[in-house]
């Protein structure tokens, strides 16, 4: 969360600097009122979204039946293989199995009807008591969903944080450069190449793995660090850096062309506005026009896109992380689904829903402050 908050605070600080205190005061009241309404609506949305996730993840209780069958099988095997119980007669054994299955089901809370369990699940999820994983462990051996997810979060944040910020600012920069030299060779190249972004990142990842890891053998196939991991922190960081190159290249390739193309078109549309023509006629320098007449009116859109980029960080990408064997949230989610580990699935979705809601919330407020054309409270 740290990075997202910092960024949004910086963004929040901009309008004060630009327009002064009076504007800020006049907006304060309406922003506060609007904030309250939006906050409540979003919270209800989160509740509905999370409950839907719980329903889907539990698929009307079917997962429980699979779990029950599994418990019975495990208990049966345990009892049958226990040498101390070998002398028991079959009836007594069956009773023992039934008893242990009942206890195990009670321990996992499977004896209550699904609807009640669903709501209990919802309540726990909303208060971020994510409970214990049924099968998965964190690397430190804990069963707590929170710990499992927290352990995976840094890897995802590192990869997608570095990649998305890099792509975001690089494409903004390139788009500004290209919009200045409209029709040049580079401009056309980006326009021509923009359809290449229809392929997802993992797809380019496959190619890059084939070329740089399989064929040239200069970069690793995947994973976070070399195995065994280097002891000294410097070498460790270098090793992680080396493992980051291919995934970041793949993510960049898969989105940079379309991203530059759309920003460039966007800037071009704004630079054909009358007030830009007027500024040019006044003889302002290109840099001043860019900063005051193009970047400022497009700020809300830029901020929106930046926030969407930040949201993208939280989800990770199950396939991308699986292809690169990256130990992040996405791959964890995929593993959890494979193991029918409902608490982990719901846990990651809940965290995602919360983060998305917070981001949307912040976005609305920033919008209201940055763009006076937005009629808020209406």
């Amino acid at each position: 969360m740290g990075r997202g908050m910092q960024m949004s605070e910086q963004v929040l600080a901009i309008p004060q600097k630009i327009t002064g205190i009076s504007f800020f005061q006049s907006t304060l009241v309406r922003v506060l009122r609007y904030t309250l309404v939006r906050g409540v609506t979003l919270f209800i949305t989160v509740i509905v979204g999370v409950y839907l996730t719980v329903l889907i993840a539990n698929m009307g209780g079917y997962v429980d039946q699979i779990r029950k069958g599994e418990i019975r099988e495990n208990v049966t095997i345990q009892v049958m293989n226990n040498p101390a119980l070998r002398s028991l007669d079959p009836d007594a054994k069956r009773q023992l199995i039934d008893e242990r299955v009942r206890l195990e089901e009670k321990r996992l809370g499977l004896d209550q009807p699904f609807l009640i369990r669903g709501f209990r699940f919802l309540e726990n999820a909303l208060t971020l008591r994510l409970g214990f994983a049924q099968l998965m462990n964190s690397n430190s051996g804990s069963r707590q969903v929170k710990l499992i997810l927290l352990e995976r979060l840094p890897a995802t944040l590192l990869l997608f944080g570095v990649a998305n910020l890099f792509i975001f600012f690089l494409s903004l920069f390139l788009a500004l450069v290209l919009s200045r030299q409209y029709g040049s060779f580079w401009d056309r190249l980006f326009v021509v190449l923009s359809p290449s972004s229809s392929a997802p990142g993992w797809f380019y990842g496959l190619f890059l793995i084939l070329i740089f890891a399989g064929w040239l053998r200069i970069l690793p196939f995947g994973d976070l660090v070399d195995a065994p991991a280097p002891r000294s922190p410097v070498l460790y960081a270098l090793s992680v850096g080396k493992h980051l190159i291919l995934p970041i290249m793949a993510l960049t390739l898969s989105s940079i062309f379309l991203s530059v193309y759309s920003w460039r078109t966007f800037f071009l549309i704004y630079s054909s506005e009358d007030y830009v023509e007027l500024a040019k006629a006044k003889g302002l320098s290109g840099r001043a026009i860019e900063r005051r007449y193009i970047l400022r009116p497009t700020l809300p859109t830029i901020v929106t896109n930046f926030m969407l980029t930040v949201i993208g960080l939280w989800t990770g990408a199950p396939i991308f992380e699986t292809v690169f064997n990256w130990p992040g949230l996405g791959r964890t989610l995929y593993q959890a689904v494979g193991l029918f580990d409902v608490p982990v699935i719901v846990g990651s979705t809940v965290i995602f829903a919360y983060l998305l809601a917070i981001t949307v919330f912040l976005l609305d407020i920033i919008y209201a402050i940055l763009d006076p054309r937005v009629r808020i409270g209406a």
Binding site: A199, F203, L210, A317, T322, V337, I345, F352
Partner: protein, 452 residues
């Protein structure tokens, strides 16, 4: 509708649109060809077939055409079946029974060793099982004894590189090399063993204990290349999946893109026209759905409910109907609603639904078509993505499943590039085709972009 016709005429001025259309046209041709030459049921049987269906094919070998780019030619598979007269057959009575001799002759000109060698027997007899003795003759006249085995009734097989006695014999006589190398290697190999080119012979001599005994045998010398597309780890011909991948990808992409964009647009139109409660309900649903992560939900559906491609398609459409598209269409419909011609329609007494479908929706078609076309690759890749996660349709052969098999069996690590590259290239070309057409259509239908 006139605008649509004009636009289609204008397409000719965009080279990328022409290229895109050409690719799509090719894909359609390939799809039709696939569906005609390999009917659906046959494709599924072939794809799920297992060893029995594909036993003549070598495991994980690249396509045959790579030989055109190599100076060292890789061998192709040689299949000699006595049922098809590929063996010289001699039968002579011997006591109560008889001896059957099958004599196989083949020419070997490749610069590399074969992948493996198997013999498949088809035997029927009364009581005592017949006894086979197999001998190998190299072009330079050496005789190598392969094995002496009793034959079971029905089908049985002898796999050269799984027979311990043969492996030991080759090690003793020729050197520490695999069986298929030992049988073909030129004498005194030195550093770089090469196969001896020329005519090889295999003799199967069978002693049978009753005159009714029947025997057929098939000698397969597996090559290191196969067909137009190569094979995978289950000896399956990748051509099947690559051909059938085209109609599946087209159907999934088109249906998902059309299903989502058109429904989304209609829902947006309904919301804008009726406004009030309907509109805010649609808005709230959209917000909830946007909070649900698409891929995790599809993974859950694939794991818990069904992996059928049509179920996944349905869920994809359902989740995308209330996606961010609704907000975009809504903004446009808000403007259209205020147009004088809508007011005029109201004045002459047009009903709500008539206004929605005859006045609002058609206005937005120029915006819809490029969107729809541009969305197709997204869904084609979504299907591939799910397949790569192991959630592909269990029966249908698709490009994504080929990639998944390849990645799961370490194709990148084992330098089996063809296995990944063939389906990946097809996906890429398909994606590019639709994306190029879509981008051009966008510029044609939305003239404001054209000057850019």
């Amino acid at each position: 509708m006139q605008t649509v016709k004009d636009a289609l005429r204008e397409i000719r001025r965009y080279p990328s649109a022409i290229a895109g259309l050409f690719i799509i046209f090719l894909l359609v041709i390939v799809s039709i060809y696939a569906m005609i030459t390999i009917p659906y049921r046959e494709a599924i049987t072939l794809w799920r077939g297992g060893e029995g269906v594909w036993r003549h094919l070598p495991r994980t070998v690249p396509p045959a055409w790579i030989n055109h780019f190599r100076s060292q030619k890789l061998p192709e598979t040689i299949v000699l079946d006595s049922r098809k007269g590929a063996a010289e057959r001699q039968e002579s009575p011997l006591g109560d029974g008889k001896t059957i001799t099958l004599f196989y002759t083949f020419d070997y000109q490749a610069d590399d060793f074969p992948r493996e060698i198997n013999i498949f027997f088809e035997t029927s007899f009364k009581e005592r099982s017949p006894f086979a003795s197999i001998k190998w003759y190299t072009p330079d006249g050496r005789e190598i004894s392969i094995t002496d085995i009793g034959l079971r009734t029905g089908s049985s097989s002898f796999r050269f590189n799984q027979d311990d006695k043969l492996i030991r014999r080759i090690r003793r006589q020729i050197g520490d090399v695999p069986v298929e190398v030992g049988l073909f290697v030129a004498p005194n190999p030195g550093e770089n063993p090469r196969p001896l080119k020329g005519t090889y012979q295999v003799k199967i001599q069978v002693t049978a204990f009753d005159p009714e005994t029947h025997l057929d045998a098939e000698l397969v010398v597996y090559g290191k290349v196969y067909g137009a597309a190569g094979t995978d780890h289950l000896r399956r011909d990748l051509r099947i999946a690559l051909l059938w991948g085209a109609p599946v990808a087209l159907a999934f992409g088109l249906l998902a893109a059309a299903g989502t964009t058109i429904t989304t647009m209609i829902i947006a139109a309904i919301g804008v026209w009726f406004s009030g409660l309907v509109d805010s309900l649609i808005q709230r649903i959209t917000e909830v759905v946007m909070m649900l992560p698409l891929l995790p939900i599809l993974i859950m559906v694939g794991t818990f409910y069904s992996r059928s491609i049509w179920v996944i398609l349905g869920v994809t459409i359902l989740l995308n109907i209330f996606g961010s598209g609704i907000k975009t269409y809504r903004a446009v419909f808000m403007q259209v609603r205020e147009s004088p011609y809508v007011e005029a329609a109201q004045a002459y007494g047009a009903g709500d639904w008539r206004i929605i479908f005859r006045y609002l929706v058609p206005r937005i078609v120029p915006m819809l078509i490029p969107n729809l076309v541009t969305m197709i690759p997204t869904y084609v890749f979504l299907e591939a993505s799910l397949a790569v996660l192991g959630l592909g349709d269990p029966v249908l052969p698709t490009w994504g499943k080929v990639i998944q098999d390849a990645v799961a069996h370490g194709a990148p690590y084992k330098a089996l590039y063809y296995w990944v590259l063939e389906p990946a290239m097809l996906l890429m070309v398909t994606g590019l085709g639709f994306a190029m057409l879509g981008f051009s259509l966008d510029r044609i239908f939305n003239p404001r972009l054209r000057e850019m």
